[in-house]
Amino acid sequence: MTLRVKALESLLVEKGLVDPAALDAIIDTYEHKVGPRNGARVVARAWSDPEYKRRLLDDATAAIAELGYGGRQGEHMVVVENAAKVHNLVVCTLCSCYPWPVLGLPPVWYKSSPYRSRAVSNPRGVLAEFGLALPDDVEIRVWDSTAEIRYLVLPERPAGTEALNEEQLAELVTRDSMIGVALAKKEVAA
């Protein structure tokens, strides 16, 4: 594939259809600038600021833009909130839709057939594969991203984190907890 893609790139450059420096800039964006730390900041802000959380649940696109995030594959955002008896899980059964501006590019497993096929029909089994066992009375809501609406899970704030500031709270928020295959971490790693 290395040679094949190299040949394709050189053809498109030769024809003046793409600019190699633009390709570098796109790659740099998703390797270094846009990733799950953006989403973690959104979640930490929502945990710290009830007014922000209200805005986030009401109009996620606008609330996320307040922190400077938005654009490609996050044009229309909806945030779904976990609670004691509700757990949310995001999937795209038809392809690989994923909220790029807040989570970056999706991991391989999210785009894989095993996850795409079973997340809707057996979410409890899927969560077990990630080591997450939820009580039977928790309702699992699976969000299949069939349109251009992108979903982000707002995980529950762990107990005992009252003393943490927003930056420390963001450390607890993993990518997987914002997809819904994990809970937020309970404490900041030493």
Partner: protein, 217 residues
Amino acid sequence: MNGVHDMGGMEGFGPIAPEPNEPVFHHRWEARALALTLAAGAWGRWTLDQSRHARERIPAADYLRMSYYEKWVAGLVALLVESGLVTRKEIEDAHAASGAEKSSPRLTADSVAVSLASGRPTLREIAAAPRFAKGAAVRARNLHPSGHTRLPRYVRGKLGTITRHHGAHVFPDTNAHGLGEQPQHLYQVRFETRELWGSAQRNAVYLDLWESYLEPA
């Protein structure tokens, strides 16, 4: 199309394999493939729905065998050739045809940030009032189009409830085939696990479905 990409509810693909500390790209060619797809897409010769459909049209056995970015490359080549930006012979030769006119790239390095930050919103204003209100009982229609659709097989014919109206959005089933955006009202619809899978578990699956995918129940 009832393709293998429409895999919600299937089994037999094996365990999920999360990779700890996974890099954004596993090979440099994957990064170039993603960037080439976005940069070539800036020509506006195809829509996002057309690019999804290009990947769905990969023969089923190949679709399941290929890695994610292998599918992107196959889709990009199909779009480049079908749109006329590149000829099949140029792909095979890995060189521009002699005498071919040289273009100027649509996406330049200094416009990447703005382009990615603005994205491609699909919300549109339409004159028609929404047919369904929040709380309405609906049935997903039993449609089997041979072209692109975002109505997965596993909800067709199933009963659900409207939980949210997203406004009107570009309709993929036409936009993927050069038939225009034809925006329609888009709804978030909740389907109970019992309805979809016959399970007693109190879970639900939510999908975003266009108005013409739905009928009153």
